[in-house]
């Protein structure tokens, strides 16, 4: 059951300052409304994982590990590998995160990241078949929040794509008798796209990108738009207690388009 959640209120001084600054197009940390915090991507930080990346976006830190195993395909997709995205909001990352099974926030984040990857065809799932209908690769993308200062979706989305890009796929050989043998050989995952999510919040009718936690707590609503390398929209999600006008959504789409190509150019290879 989904329940309206408590929001940690900012101190009056802080919220007043935030609003005053916003009025003149500024933010508490000195950024302009449409500026991202500094983004750092560190690849391959967990050697035991087939792929991994640690993304920091200001104080927000998200680690993604990719594990690749083999298993049965989904019955309705016998000629495709399987993909599972899971997110853990571990209590280490934020004083209000509690241990336990994933709650609605971590499920929403995982499903949003999943949609970005799946709909943009980031991985060519048809190349992940070992024996059609019987044995395929199963790709686990595990999102691990380490430090929460807002905009978990963008950090998680970037970390997921980065970890997928550096993941190595173990090679299997199918013997004539049908036996499947793991070779001591790896190839890259067949990656064909990089979805880049851009998250915006609305505070007092202003649209801000890459919100900090304080800004998320002051925002009336949040919107993520994820774009492919060809500039198509492949995922979208509004959240929060407020709502957007049509014009705001149109504006947000333009912003997302611009910011996603900036991030793409800075961090990803030409072809994706």
């Amino acid at each position: 059951m989904s329940v309206t959640s408590q929001v940690e209120p900012l101190t009056k001084i802080k919220s007043k300052r935030m609003m005053k600054l916003l009025a003149s197009g500024k933010r508490l940390d000195g950024r302009g409304l449409l500026d991202y915090r500094e983004i750092k991507i560190e690849n391959g930080v967990v050697e035991k994982a087939e792929g991994s990346a640690l993304v920091s976006m200001g104080n927000t830190k998200v680690l993604v590990g990719v594990k690749i195993e083999t298993g049965q395909p989904y019955p309705d997709l016998p000629n495709q590998g399987a993909l599972t995205v899971n997110a853990e909001f571990v209590p280490l990352a934020y004083k209000y995160f509690e241990p336990g099974p994933p709650d609605e926030n971590s499920i929403e984040l995982a499903r949003l990241v999943d949609r970005g990857i799946r709909e943009s065809k980031t991985i060519d799932m048809e190349k992940l078949v070992i024996i059609p209908g019987k044995e395929v690769y199963v790709v686990f993308v595990d999102v691990y929040i380490l430090d929460h200062d807002g905009n978990l979706v963008d950090a998680a989305g970037l970390a997921a794509v980065s970890a997928i890009l550096n993941a190595k796929l173990p090679v299997y050989r199918v013997k004539e008798n049908g036996e499947v043998i793991k070779m001591d050989e790896y190839v890259p995952l067949p990656v064909q796209n990089c979805p880049i999510p851009v998250t915006m919040v609305k505070i007092d009718d202003k649209i801000l990108v890459d919100p900090t936690l304080d800004e998320e707590n002051m925002a009336s609503a949040k919107l993520t738009i994820t774009l492919t390398k060809n500039g198509e929209i492949c995922a979208m999600q509004k959240s929060g207690l407020g709502a957007f006008t049509l014009d705001e959504i149109v504006e947000a789409q333009k912003i997302a388009r611009k910011k996603s190509s900036e991030i793409r150019e800075k961090f990803f290879r030409e072809w994706c």
Partner: protein, 241 residues
């Protein structure tokens, strides 16, 4: 499963005979449950969804109560027999996400601030699911809220626009949703001129996105009329009684 189905025929009509901008037939019944404070039932295509609203009542357990507004609790749940394959009654990840986005689609329309420390419960049961069940559920939920006498800024109405065979079409059915290329449900609050839910998966170009937004809004306004009419009928009937 492997055969590629044509979703639009040579006359531009869809599998169920609809035009691209045509919504499915809708049937609404308000106030059908005796125990709930408010209730509504909607049929939209093959969707059959029933919604009960309880509250405002004291927040329970207490710690969920909010000092400045009512806590809204929302549960979107599918009956085990509502789908082609029997669904386990335990809530799936999909149901958990949809419960959240429906709650956040409805909250902007509710005068929650009138009821601090209270809770308002919205219980949605999908008895039969077709495509677009979250939208139909939102449409019915706002009617159940109204039926419960919860003060609203306006009704909330929802409809999806998708892409099938490369063309935009409103209010996708199950088969269109599965075989189509994109789906974008939105919820709209006419009096506020605001969108309180927008989700998307699939592939839209910028142009398609703009067009889809407008088609979705137009479809919402059609459903809004049906909502209003259902509410009017309910009140007329109540007055007669």
């Amino acid at each position: 499963m492997t055969e590629i189905k044509k979703l639009i025929d040579e006359n531009g009509l869809r599998v169920d005979g609809r035009k691209l901008d045509e919504i499915r037939p809708i049937k609404i019944e308000i106030g059908l449950l005796a125990n709930a404070d408010g209730s509504a039932y909607i049929e939209q295509g093959r969707n059959k969804i029933i919604v009960a609203v309880y509250g405002p009542r004291e927040a329970q357990p207490k710690h969920i109560g909010l000092h400045d507004r009512a806590a809204i609790r929302c549960r979107y749940h599918m009956a085990p027999f509502s789908t082609d394959e029997r669904k386990s009654p335990a809530p799936s990840r999909r149901e958990i996400e949809i419960s959240k986005v429906i709650r956040e689609a409805l909250e902007p329309a509710i005068f929650s601030e009138y009821y601090p420390r209270s809770m308002i419960d919205i219980f949605i049961e999908v008895l039969q699911s077709d495509g677009g069940s979250r939208c139909a559920a939102i449409t019915a939920s706002s009617l159940a809220l109204a039926d419960a006498g919860i003060p609203l800024k306006d009704l909330v109405v929802a409809c999806a626009v998708g892409k099938i065979d490369g063309k935009l079409a409103v209010d996708l059915s199950d088969v269109e949703d599965k075989l189509g290329e994109a789906d974008m449900p939105i919820a709209y609050i006419p009096a506020l001129r605001k969108i309180s839910l927008i989700q998307m998966d699939g592939i839209f170009t910028e142009e398609e996105f703009f067009k889809a937004l407008n088609m979705a809004k137009d479809a919402c306004m059609k459903i809004y009329k049906i909502q209003k009419e259902a509410l009017k009928q309910k009140y007329l009937q109540t007055e007669k009684e």
